[in-house]
Structures are given as C-alpha cells and as structure tokens.
Amino acid sequence: MKVIGKDVQRVDGRSLVRGKPVFSDDIQLKDVLYVKILHSPVAHAKIIKIDTTKAEALEGVIAVFTYKDFKPHYYTTAGQGYPEPGPRDMLILDSTVRYVGDRVAFVAAESVSIAAKALELIHVEYDELPCIFDAQKSMTAGFAIHPTEGTTGIHDVAHNIAAHLDAELGDVETALKDSTHVFQGTYSTPFVQMAHIEPHISLTWLDNNNRLVIRTSTQVPHHVRRIVAEVLDIPIARIRVIKPRIGGGFGGKQEILNEEVVGAVTLKTGRPARIEYTREEELFAARVRHPELITFRLGFDNDHLLTAIDLNILEDCGAYGPHALTVMSVTSQKALSMYKAPNIRVNGDGVYTNLPIGGAYRGYGAPQAFFPLESLMDEAAEKLGVDPIELRLKNVFQVGDDVPIAKILGEGREGFPMVLYSTEIAACLNEGRKLSNWDKLKAQKQSGRYRTGIGVAIAGQGSGIPGIDMGAAFIKMNEDASFNLQVGATDLGTGSDTALAQIAAEVLNVGVEKIIVYSSDTDMTPFDTGAYASSTTYISGTAVLKAAETCKAMILVQGKKLLQVDDAKIVNMDVVAADGQSISYADICMKSFYTEEQVQIMGTASHLSYDSPPPFNATFAEVEVDTLTGTTRVVKVVSVTDAGQIINPKMAEGQVEGAIPQSLGMALTEFMPFDEKGRFLNLDFNSYHIYTAQDMPEMVVRFAKSHEPTGPYGAKAVAEIPINAPAPAVTNAIYNAVGVRIRHLPVQPEELLAKIQGD
C-alpha cells in the first residue's frame, strides 16, 4: 500500500501550526450580538416570577428571552440520529429549573459586559422544590423531577427513571448457584468532564438569502441542523451548519448545547449572534460523564472459565436525559462482549437527579464498564490463584466467535448479530507484558515509604453503531488529476480529514496531496451522523473508499472512450490499453471537461454497516503509592491497541497518548465535588486538575499487527478504545503496591491511607 499505514502529514496541519484563523471564533461579524445565559442558582425550583424590565432597559441590551417567549416543545440536546433513543425532556427555556446551572433566561447585547450586567438585572423568584442529589434515592424520592405531560421517552416519570434496560441470555441465577467460584463487587465511576481547551462556541447569522447560518464548534453538524430546525420551528432547508476547526470535543460537542439559543436571537433580531461559554460555565453547565454505580457478579467453573456474568447498573443522568439509554447500553454491551460466558444478564436504570447533565464523553459508557469488570477480574484471578493475564486470555472471545449480547442490546434499539472477525488482544497483552516489565515488577516485595506496583486491564469498544451510523462521500476530479473529497464526517482534531484523504488517495493511486478535503458543511457535504461512536474511519472511511472506487471506475470508462478501446486498465495515474496506448489521468480530465466525451468524473457513495468490529486494548500501569500520604503517582503506562490496519501511525498514537491522561484523571486527579445545595465547587482549571506536561508519566504506545476484513483496508476504530483500560490498570497496580482494593473513583487519598495503615 502506498499511503495507508504511513505517517502522512495532516492535511490541515500547516494552518494549525501557523495559528491561522480556522476556528469558530476566528471571524469578525458586523453588528454581532453577544449572548449570555442566566443560569439557575438553585437545584430544583419553579420560577414563580421572572421580571426582565430592568434588563431590557439597560442600554445596549437588544433582547431578553424567558420561557414566556417560546411555545413549549420538548426535544433532546443529544447529538443522535432520529428518532432519538432517549427522553425528550428539555425545553429551550423552562419554567422549572432542575439543576444549578439550568437555563433560566438568555440575553443578547452589544457587548459581553453589557450582557453580563443585564443578567444581574433579571429579577427571578424561585419556589424551591425538594432535591435529589443521590442517584440511589431517585427512584424512591416520592416526587418526580419531570412532568408527564409533554415529555416523551422517559421510562418511568414518577420514579425518575429516564431509561431502563434489561437483558438475559441463559439463566444467570442458576449458573451462579452451580458455579464453583463466585465473585462479586460494587464499584462506581465519578463525574468528570471532557475539558476541551476550546469552550463551546456558536455563531449564527442570516445570509443574503435569509437562511440561518450556524457556525459552531460541533461534532454533529447534521444533527444540529435537524434539531435547531425542530426547536425554532423553521424548515431544515433554511439552515446551513458549518463546522470549522474544533479545539477538542471528546464527546462534549456531540450535543446541541447552545445553537438553538443563538439561532433564536438571530431569527428574532435579524442580527448575527455569538455565544461562548466561559471556562466556569463549562465546569457546571455543560455536560459530564454519567456517573455509574455497578455491581458485577462473575461465576467461574473449575477450569477458571466464566459460567456467568451479571451486572446491575445505576446510572446518574443528572437533571435531563440526553444519552441516558445509550450510554448505559454501551456499558452493558461492552461489559458483556469482552469475555465469553454462557449465561449473561444486565439490568440497568438511568435515573434523574438535580445535578449536571450527563452527556457523551469518549468511551461513552465503556470506561464505566471496564473499571469494575477489570477490577473484579483482577480480584478473581488473585483468589483463584491464577495469573491475571492468563485468566483473561482464557476467557476472551476468539476470532470466529459469536458475541450474543450484541444482538439483544444495540445502542437504544435492538442490536445486530455479531461475529468477531479480528482480535489481537492476546498479542496486545503479550507485548504489553514485555514492555511494562510486568513479571519483574509484579513479583517485587516492597518496603519503605514509596511502594511501586503494576496492574493490567483490557478493554474493547466498537467501530460505529451497527445499523444506525451512516456516512457518505462525494468525490470529483479536476484537470490536474487532483480530486475534491467532500464528506460529512467531522474532524475534531482527530485527523479524520487526513485519514479519509489517505483512503481516497490509496484507491485512486495518487498522492495524498492530490486530495482536497472539505468536510462538515450541511450545504456542501453529504450526510454523516457525525464524529462519535468511533465511526469515522470505519464507516465514513468505507464510504470514501466506495466513492473513490466509483470515481476510479469512471476514469477508466472515460479513458477507454478517449482511447477508443474496449480493453484497458489503470496503471498508476494512467489508463493503459491492451495495445499499449495510454492516456494520463490529467489528460482524461482535461478532455472530459472541455473537448471530448465531456462529463464530470465523479463518485458518490454511502456506507452503513451491520458490523461494529471491536478494537481492543491492553493497558499496563506502573504506579508509586506514597504510604505516608495516601497519594498515588503514575510512573509509566504501556498501552497496546488492536485497531486493525492503522491508517496513519502518528495520528493513531496521538489518539492513545491523549486518551491516557483523561483516564488517569478520572482515576486520580479530576474531582467534581458539590455542596449540600447541589452547587459544583471546582470551577476552574486550578481546582479541576488535568495533567500538565510536567505531570505526565512515561507513555509507551504500540499497535498490534491486525487486519479487520470488514474495515477499509482492514481498519477498525482507534478514537475511544484507549480511554477504557488505564483507570482499572492503575487501581489494580495500587493493589499490587499496597494490597488495597479501590472500588470507587476517584481514588481518595485519605481512604487509601487508612486502608494501608489498617493492615
């Protein structure tokens, strides 16, 4: 292969290193209005009075909106396909607020300072209602956070259950009763945040034809278009969504967070409008990872093979339910598609609380699955007296295996049958074992203040949502044998523009520099569900491959016509006839535009798959626990991933290298505490600690040699898989270091110290 598997320089790299104005806010809009949102200071209340007269009277304030300005229409902000799998429980502005941060009103003014001042002049009287801050109390609270009237898709309004799922194959209870060994544990994962450095930002304006243009930092331009059309009650035809370069998303921008707000301002005033969240707003009024409380039970027989896996999930959705069902579905599906067991069962409830809203965060339920699963597997291995790597290798799904849970549990819908076509998890574990010095470190006997430990964890993910995620591509040829590639697929810094260009280039036998990529503009590019569920390489990439093949076939047809032969083939960038005549790509196109057999050489294709081949990862973490203070430092992380054929090694490495500190943060450093009134306390990067350059452990990143037959050139996904295993690898390492099992993240130094001293 000429360009697949090569470190091709990013097609947009030059603009990024030069600091070119390519991000959403890097434009000047004439007469723009600055929009700010008034957030609720209380966690649950009815607005009994809202008086905006003083705010409206402030000089420079152009418009103030409250719930009275909108006809109630329930929707969801989740960037998902239609019909959205979750509750429609949100109004653009509501007369009830349900968490500290909920929207109360929004203001459009001539400057940000004026808008901020106007917020203070809005007089609101709240009738406070009882609150739920503990997901374990939601179902029995005795009052409902949401109304029955108007909302749809809520599983059980009265009991605050936004979403529910359950599934069973075989008979888990009997199997567990009959198992030689049963292990059980209850675990929890916390609130954490995506923390992309570019905040949420959206700009809207009316173009010369009175269409609403939305220029926004989003992962889901087509969902933005559809949902904004619905909420603002204008035709989809009247909206154009443009996604410029994005400063990170990680799922946080798989959400229609504020686009409908600025859209409403532009439609009312006729003026461009801009809204940008402050860092503080990001940390309490955006989206978070759904915390989950999970109980796992694992049954083993005498041969240490799993007989049964049972899991019970309590998911904290926060005040509203975007992604409620689907995140929990992914937790269930991934937890049950790693290891073979003849009996499997899951029961999950996603409940409402008066806390920030769960959204989409890289991994999307899988980190919440693998922290408990890999912790319990570790415990089981120890109690069974088996090497933890051997126990895993014994029980993982093998190539050719049917993965039964996939059929019953899709993402919010029934799934599709799944057969494992590729897995190199064994190779990942074996390579990681060597690179991490596992055998030596595991056996180490420790004394002294600092104790080192090593831990391992494995994980899977998916490559797109089977039967749901669809992507499309247009490709057209130019006179110099360059090609315009237009894709709906969304590059959020992941490098997808480049990877897709590589795929097109490989098919067409041209250099990557001949592919000009334009992406994510709902007027100019075909549909794509967007950048989530690790769908871009696998789904959008295959659409590109098919479109490029169609285009290539047309080049051949044109070439034959121009040479007036029936028998010819493509050799590099020429069409060569059997009789030796040849014509170059460039000549073909030049003639096809201007002189003979005129036609635009092009190709279009869509792709949908009923397969979602899992990438796999094995992560080894070496930690150092300070037995004097209870704090833990990560020394080294070895991460080996099976993502099928790697399209661009440096880009794939980059994905892993960025995912690791996100997972370490969830385990050790990122805290989102809240007070007794539901107010979140860590509202800046000073208190919400993400890893800095100096904090980073040593990282060793490798990819197993692998080939997925259903993927473009053998590729699977790589974007989310590396975020799942580091956290359990760290807690397993803590156990190895000091003999303490951590079941709740983030690790609390006080608890760890107490348990160390308790020995």
Binding site: G19, P21, I197, T278, G654, G658, N686, Q694
Partner: protein, 156 residues
C-alpha cells in the same frame, strides 16, 4: 487610553479601554492565533511573547505593554516559510486539534531565546502553563527536543 508598542515587528498604535486585556485586543485586530480558553491564565492558549518572554495575554492589561515588543505566532511564518518549531510540530504530528498549538509554539520560542541548555525537563517546564487535552504532551515535547537541540548546535 492610547498605547504604543511594537507588534510583530511593526510599530503599533492602540486605543483601548483601561480594563481591556491583551487577549481581547489582539483578537479584535484579528490576530486570532491568540486563543480564549479560560481567561484566568490557567490554560495558556493565549500565550504571547512580550520582550522575548512567554506571558498569558489574558492576564495582561493593555497599559502594561506600552513600549514593549509583542509577538504572536502569526509573525513566525510566511506563506513561503515556516519557523523551525512549526516544521517540527508538523513533522512530529504534534498538533491534533491545534487549539493549544500557537501557545505552545510561543512558549517554546521563548525557551529557545533564553539560550540555555534545552533538555526534556526544561521543555516540560516551558510547556507547563500550556494545557492540552488531545496529545498527552508527548509529541509536542518530542518535536521541541528535536528542533531546539538542533538549533543550539546551529547557534553555537
């Protein structure tokens, strides 16, 4: 308030309100490489060079730049040529979303101008005020070491 300073090599006259920060001002004159990430000096996406030193523009009030030399990433390349750090970043794959990249390039350029030995500790220290959520800092550090150690050789 009128302030005069050198901006990217040229004399510049600004007229700004007393409470305006350099970040806002520079973006208002379309020097968009200077980014808004947190406005509190914690993320470093607004890092610029002031008299060869890396400073957060969001913490810099306009009156303090009177008579000083301000440089942003825009000045480090032309349509024909890239700065060695920018080439290095491209080559290493060190920019993913690219939002923190100009800030990092500026911090590293400041490090280079100090003229001291450049090792991994010095590079990580120079980048410690530039938060990145995409890269885990690995490739930016590799790129910086590759370029700045080379530069030292060339300069001496």
């Amino acid at each position: 308030m009128k302030i005069t300073f050198e901006l990217n090599g040229k004399l510049h006259h600004a007229d700004a309100k007393a409470g305006m920060t350099l970040l806002e001002y520079l973006r208002s004159i379309q020097l968009y490489s200077v980014k808004y990430g947190c406005d509190h000096g914690e993320c470093g996406a607004c890092t610029v060079l002031i008299n060869d030193v890396a400073i957060n523009a969001c913490l810099t009030l306009m009156h303090t730049v009177e008579g000083k030399r301000i440089e942003t990433t825009e000045t480090f390349s032309s349509h024909e040529e890239l700065h060695s750090l920018q080439e290095g970043f491209l080559h290493a794959g060190a920019a993913q979303c690219g939002f923190c990249t100009p800030g990092m390039i500026n911090s590293l350029e400041a490090l280079d101008r100090e003229g001291l030995e450049v090792n991994e500790t010095a590079v990580r220290d120079a980048l410690n005020g530039n938060l990145c959520r995409c890269t885990g800092y690995l490739k930016p550090v590799e790129a910086a070491l590759e370029v700045l150690s080379k530069d030292k050789g060339a300069k001496s």
